[in-house]
């Protein structure tokens, strides 16, 4: 464990994209968390997200984790670059010859992923706590901890996302192909889930349609990107603005997405290992 940690430390410490994106990520992350404190114009009307209640317990957990999760691509870039670099410089082959096993290689990359995910989660947790206690209407502990599970979901969402990128990087070995494949996958998944939704609600009206959308089981929700995004639903319906417009916010804990993410994680990790084992280097 310490050996793998030291390896990753030496490999990444002086790697420029690594430093640049890590600093960029944490800087933007902190800025994003404080986004509710600034006023900005939306359709000519000033909007202040704090006034809209994004810093109120328990909604704050939903808002902060959702907003910050948008930034995960920065960390994703680091992971893709640092893994692809191992292949383009033929270092995976050299590491293997020097005596690093495939398991240890995957282990070292998972370690980096875990550290990033943990640090990001801890930062989000700490800043959310700070913002909540400072700006929330209520700070009674029942409210504070009511939706704290979003922090756990955030952790899993990031971890699954990075495992997915690790898998693509090991499969394709060139960062440009990884990004292309990722977008193709993204679009493909959207099309699939679009088709499924369309076939289910075809011919249905109003309330009936909402009933299906809310309660039916969608297979496409189990796809990797979809299940990741279901872990933290879009919180816009929880804005005061939306409440005033009468949009009802309903939330079911996404158990099936949680399980799907765990399954995808193990598929990506074992898939990566299998590719490393089977391929000739």
């Amino acid at each position: 464990m310490t050996k793998l940690l030291k390896l990753e430390y030496y490999k990444n410490l002086n790697y420029r994209p690594f430093k640049v994106f890590t600093i960029l990520y944490f800087a933007i992350l902190i800025v994003f968390l404080f986004i509710g404190l600034i006023d900005f114009d939306l359709f000519g009307e000033p909007v202040n997200l704090k006034e809209q209640g994004i810093y109120n317990f328990p909604e704050i957990w939903n808002f902060t984790t959702w907003i910050v999760a948008l930034l995960k691509i920065f960390l994703g870039l680091i992971i893709v670059f640092s893994i692809c670099q191992e292949f383009s410089d033929r270092m995976f082959k050299q590491n293997t010859i020097d005596g690093l096993s495939r398991k240890e290689f995957i282990g070292s990359k998972l370690l980096t992923i875990s550290i990033f995910t943990i640090v990001s989660t801890v930062v989000v947790f700490a800043i959310t706590m700070f913002l909540g206690y400072r700006y929330s209407n209520t700070t009674e502990s029942a409210k504070v901890f009511e939706e704290i599970f979003f922090v756990g979901n955030y952790f899993l969402k990031l971890f699954t996302f990075f495992c997915f990128l690790m898998f693509l990087s090991i499969l394709l070995r060139k960062s440009i192909f990884v990004f292309l494949a990722f977008f193709v996958f993204w679009i493909g998944e959207s099309i699939l889930s679009g088709i499924e939704v369309f076939t289910k609600i075809r011919g249905l009206q109003g309330a009936q349609r909402n009933e299906v959308l809310q309660n039916d089981f969608f297979i496409s929700h189990l796809l990797p990107l979809e299940s990741m995004s279901n872990l933290i639903p879009n919180p816009m319906a929880r804005l005061n603005m939306a409440k005033m417009m009468g949009i009802k916010y309903e939330f079911h804990y996404p158990t099936e997405s949680l399980i799907a993410c765990l399954v995808w994680c193990s598929i990506f990790i074992f898939g990566s290992y299998w590719i490393l084992k089977k391929r000739d280097w």
Binding site: M91, I97, G99, D280
Partner: protein
Amino acid sequence: MEKILSVKNLTKKFKRIVVNNISFDVEKGNVYGLLGPNGSGKSTTFGMLLSTINPTSGDWYWFGKKGTDSETLKKIGAIIEQPNFYPYLSAEVNLKIVAEIKGTPFQRIDEVLSIVGLLERKKDTFKTFSLGMKQRLAIASAMLNNPEVLILDEPTNGLDPEGIIQIREIINNIAKQGITIIIASHLLDEIEKICSHVIVLKEGNSIYCGRVDEMTNSHGYFELKADNKTALIQTLEEIHWFSSIDSEGDTIKAHIREDASVSASTLNQKLAEKGIFLSHLVKKKLSLESQFLELVKNTN
């Protein structure tokens, strides 16, 4: 002799057969040359023995243990095709990574860097190194864990004459320490200067494995000159010591028969008795190149 490596019926098929059923043994303390033209399967063989390529069939034993695991690899130092290091890291940090993988203490780093003459450059990043320095760093890296076997794939590829000499000296010094070395090259004069044993590959088949000087039965040949060339050729044919007699310009090349043993002085004496006086007499051994060519020709 203790066997370091024993390869049995190793085969690798990509789209075509690249390594075909090769078997050979490597004994402790010798320097082996793995010979073969480009594309004869040298690098693929090394790849399989170093666990980066999955074999189609066959077995091998390192130090009597089947296959190649991480523990085995820690007793081997290897350089394959080109020096691979993280270009943005210094020589020192690159070697720290290798030391970490192999479980070697960091103080070895300065030792191996001074062996290859790169100690002053240890803080410089790898990408600023010349090809010769990169190759020497690769040797330093392979030497880091005091390996029992050193595998070198084309270590002098692309180097200038000075670089080649440096690498050769380093390898010779390593060989003197009793480390077994397996070195692949298509540069035969290179191998000839370094190796005591050879393994010859041809189109994926191993056609010879043994001492360099026992590669062919040849006893060598004489280069001869005399004023009366025709008489010389005639006399040489009469004494039946030679398998073939070629004339190249003024010089006559007489190849000694496989079952004969002739020294230069005996030949000189014999010819003098026959009334032929030489103006030039040299006994030569076949170069590795001609032996190799002969071997490859014979197995056609």
